[in-house]
Every structure is written in structure tokens, then in C-alpha cells.
């Protein structure tokens, strides 16, 4: 109970700061939309191809804007010596990690909630039919991303060249999550398209079950990575963040 309250306090603190300043989420969102635009123009061939690439663009936007949020989350602590203050409170390291991580997940989810409708309009993505599974994929991806990201952002808090180092060491670790996210999203979109075509009277494709299996497989991989990353990050955080 006590631990839960500590986590809640750290989480609430980050949310409160964000509610007062509104700087992180806003810049994350604008950045994500811009990435969407840049990538669209970079790879645009025609409407049909851009739809196929859309899952990739979506996850790239989440990755980059998420990184922005992560470094903001700890830059804010640094400016006022906040992390030291946090460590001086009776809250355990694990609780601090969990609170910060949940706050980062929350920011990313808010951005995603605004980003997803935009993307589904831009790229004509049939997401409503698979809303539940898609939400699960996005949430799982976000959790895995934020778990490692919070750890790395925290440990680079005082490092020289931290803005440079964070992506360099963070992206290679988190790439499996992104791959799984893109694959699962692509599979879901395919299923949704096929279901729509079937509703119009087109013959159902025999490969739908195979695709469904594949999506499920990627979701399982996402869950496995989330479990590994959460456990490893929470554990390593206790040893890394000392003073």
C-alpha cells in the first residue's frame, strides 16, 4: 500500500507539473505530427503505398516524440535539482522509477490518443474495426519503450552530451519493441482491410487466420519484451541512480 502511494505521489507530481506548464505534451505532439509529415513526403509514391508504410511512420513518430518526452522528463528534474530531492524523500528507488515511468507512459498515451485519429485520417487507416487489439499493441509498445527509456534518461541525467547519447544507446535496445509494434500494427490493418472487403462481398482470403496468428505472435513478443525490460530496468535503476 505504502509503495503504491509513493508511486502515485511521484506520478502525480509529474502530472501536476505538466498540467501547470503544458510544455512537454504539446511539443511531443507537434513533433510527432511533423515527423509524420516529413516521412510522408520523404517516401510518398502514391496513396496506396503510403498506406502500407503508415504503421512504420506511426511508430517512428512515437519513438522520436517519446524520446523528446523522456529527455524533458529528466531535464526538468535537473533544472531544479529535483532528482536529488526525490531521492531524499522516503520513497524507494523502485517507487521513483515506477512513478516516473508511469508519468512518461501517460504523456505518450495522451500524445498517441491525439495522434492516432490524425494518422487514420491522413492515411485512411481502418482502425475502428480493430480498435481493441490496436490499443493493446500501442499500449504494450509504449510500456516497453518507456521502461527502458526512463532508465536510460535517468542514468544519463548528469552525463555530458546526454542529448547525443540517449538515442545512441537507447534505440538499439528498444528496436525489438518497435519491430514488433510495426509488424503487429501492419497485420491488424491488413485484417481490417480484409474484413472490410469481405463485408462488401469480396471473397475472404484464406490467409486471414495465418495473419491473425502472426499478429498474436508479435503481441506475445511485445509482452515478453515488456516483461524483460520492466524487470531489468526497475532492477538496474536501483543500482544506477545513487546520488
Amino acid at each position: 500500500m505504502n509503495v503504491l502511494r509513493q508511486i502515485g505521489a511521484v506520478f502525480y507530481k509529474d502530472l501536476l507539473v505538466e498540467a501547470r506548464t503544458r510544455e512537454t505534451i504539446l511539443s511531443m505532439l507537434v513533433f510527432a505530427v511533423l515527423i509524420g509529415l516529413v516521412f510522408t513526403f520523404a517516401v510518398f509514391v502514391n496513396q496506396e503505398t503510403i498506406r502500407k508504410i503508415a504503421p512504420g511512420i506511426f511508430w517512428v513518430a512515437i519513438t522520436f516524440s517519446g524520446t523528446l518526452g523522456l529527455s524533458r522528463s529528466f531535464a526538468r528534474e535537473r533544472e531544479a535539482g529535483g532528482l536529488r530531492g526525490l531521492l531524499m524523500t522516503p520513497a524507494g528507488r523502485g517507487a521513483i522509477f515506477a512513478g516516473k515511468m508511469l508519468a512518461n507512459v501517460a504523456f505518450m498515451v495522451v500524445v498517441e490518443l491525439l495522434l492516432i485519429p490524425l494518422f487514420s485520417i491522413f492515411f485512411d487507416l481502418p482502425l475502428l474495426e480493430v480498435a481493441g487489439s490496436f490499443a493493446a499493441v500501442v499500449l504494450l509498445g509504449t510500456i516497453g519503450f518507456a521502461a527502458v527509456g526512463t532508465l536510460f534518461a535517468a542514468m544519463l541525467e548528469n552525463a555530458r552530451l546526454r542529448e547525443l547519447l540517449l538515442p545512441v544507446i537507447f534505440y538499439p535496445i528498444v528496436v525489438p519493441v518497435i519491430i514488433a509494434g510495426v509488424e503487429a500494427t501492419g497485420g491488424l490493418l491488413f485484417l481490417s482491410d480484409a474484413a472490410r472487403a469481405a463485408a462488401k462481398g469480396a471473397a475472404t482470403l484464406g490467409s486471414m487466420d495465418a495473419i491473425r496468428d502472426k499478429v498474436w505472435q508479435w503481441i506475445q513478443i511485445l509482452m515478453a519484451f515488456d516483461a524483460i525490460f520492466l524487470a531489468a530496468s526497475a532492477w538496474i535503476f536501483e543500482y544506477l541512480v545513487t546520488e
Partner: protein, 222 residues
């Protein structure tokens, strides 16, 4: 010097067996010889990355300098072997997979990731100053996870990369005449890997002692 001589001898024997004893493969021709360089490098890479992660784990818990020295040495030698695998791999693939250097196969991707993580590891050590040891140890644990992924990748995701580590025993799917050269080559690789590791660890030890001594001197001056 003994290390160098032993290493040279082992390499000589391995090279002799590779080029003189091993049969020339029918489809690949002489290019199949790359196999004897690629496979042991990959194996040494996975083993050393695992060792590095393990040492880092122990270092985080115990804070004993020696484990950090082990981890640095292992990480650096891992990088050497990862580079060898990544160079010899595409050379092999060009011949075996009809003309492509690279595919985004699970094992290739995870190996490339491991290489990048290791590069990040060295950057982190070089740049982040105080606390770099602990940070890089944290990173190394993730590198260890990736090394496990490299090992399991073919079994989990399939892909084009063949498996040498069969369940029936190492290399049981390889022509018997090729087995001895492979094992000799593995011996040479592992020996050189161990020797490099040992020397690099010694260097790190000396460096740490030098730093400690400098600190003492500057304290005494004041």
C-alpha cells in the same frame, strides 16, 4: 609473448587444416572457407557478450572493480568478433544467397543491433565521465539480452540464416571432413579471444592502479 606465439601456432594449424585438409564444397567452391572464420567469430561473440553482461551484473551488485575490468575487456573483444562476423557474413551471403550482401533476417538484425549497442557502450564509457562504469554496466546487461536473442533468433523467427548449433550436437549437420578444421578454427578463435581479453583486462587493471596512484600523489602534495 608466449600468448602471441601460441596464438600464432594455433592459427597456423587452423589455417593449414582449413585450406589443405578440408574438402572444397561443391556449391560454394573456395568461398566456403569463409565458414571457418565466420562461425567461430559468431560463437565467440555471443559467449563474450554473455560474459560481459554477467560481469556487469555482478559489478552492479558488488561494486568490485575487478568485475568492471572483466566487463570492459569482454565488451571490447566482443566488438572485435562482432565486427568479424558482420564482415565475413555478407561475404558469405553474397555467394550463398545468390547475390545479396544483406537481408533483414532475424539473426543478422540482432547481430547488427548487438554491434551498435557495443558501440554505444564504448561511447558511453568514453563520454559520460563520472558514473560511466555503472551506466555502461547497465547497458551491458541489455546487450546480454540481445546476445541471447542472437542465439535464439533463428529458432524463434526462422529466417534465412542456417543453424550450426544443432540439438544433436555441435555441427552434426556438417560434412565430417569439415568438422576438424571448424573445431581447430574455433580453438584458435577462442584462444585468441581469451588472450585479447586477458591482455585488455590487464591494461584496465594497470590503468585503474595508475589512477589510484595519481590520486594518492596529488593528495600527498597538498
Amino acid at each position: 609473448l608466449t600468448l602471441v606465439l601460441c596464438g600464432a601456432a594455433l592459427v597456423g594449424v587452423a589455417l593449414y587444416s582449413i585450406f589443405a585438409l578440408a574438402p572444397i564444397e561443391a556449391r560454394m567452391g573456395i568461398a566456403q572457407k569463409i565458414f571457418y572464420f565466420h562461425v567461430p567469430a559468431g560463437m565467440a561473440m555471443v559467449l563474450l557478450a554473455g560474459g560481459c553482461a554477467l560481469a556487469s551484473l555482478v559489478f552492479l551488485i558488488s561494486r568490485k572493480e575487478i568485475f568492471d575490468e572483466i566487463a570492459v575487456a569482454a565488451a571490447e573483444v566482443t566488438m572485435v568478433f562482432a565486427t568479424i562476423s558482420l564482415i565475413t557474413g555478407p561475404l558469405w551471403a553474397r555467394k550463398a544467397w545468390s547475390g545479396v550482401w544483406w537481408t533483414w533476417d532475424a539473426r543478422l538484425t540482432s547481430t547488427l543491433l548487438l554491434w551498435i549497442v557495443l558501440a554505444g557502450y564504448h561511447m558511453l564509457r568514453g563520454l559520460s565521465g563520472e558514473g560511466a562504469r555503472r551506466f555502461s554496466a547497465g547497458l551491458a546487461i541489455f546487450a546480454g539480452v540481445d546476445a541471447v536473442l542472437v542465439y535464439l533468433s533463428v529458432k524463434l523467427w526462422g529466417g534465412q540464416h542456417p543453424i550450426v548449433m544443432q540439438d544433436e550436437g555441435l555441427g552434426s549437420n556438417i560434412h565430417p571432413g569439415m568438422r576438424l578444421p571448424l573445431f581447430l578454427s574455433m580453438g584458435a578463435y577462442f584462444f585468441i579471444g581469451a588472450a585479447l581479453f586477458w591482455l585488455r583486462m590487464g591494461l584496465e587493471r594497470t590503468r585503474n592502479r595508475l589512477r589510484a596512484l595519481k590520486l594518492q600523489v596529488s593528495e600527498r602534495m597538498e
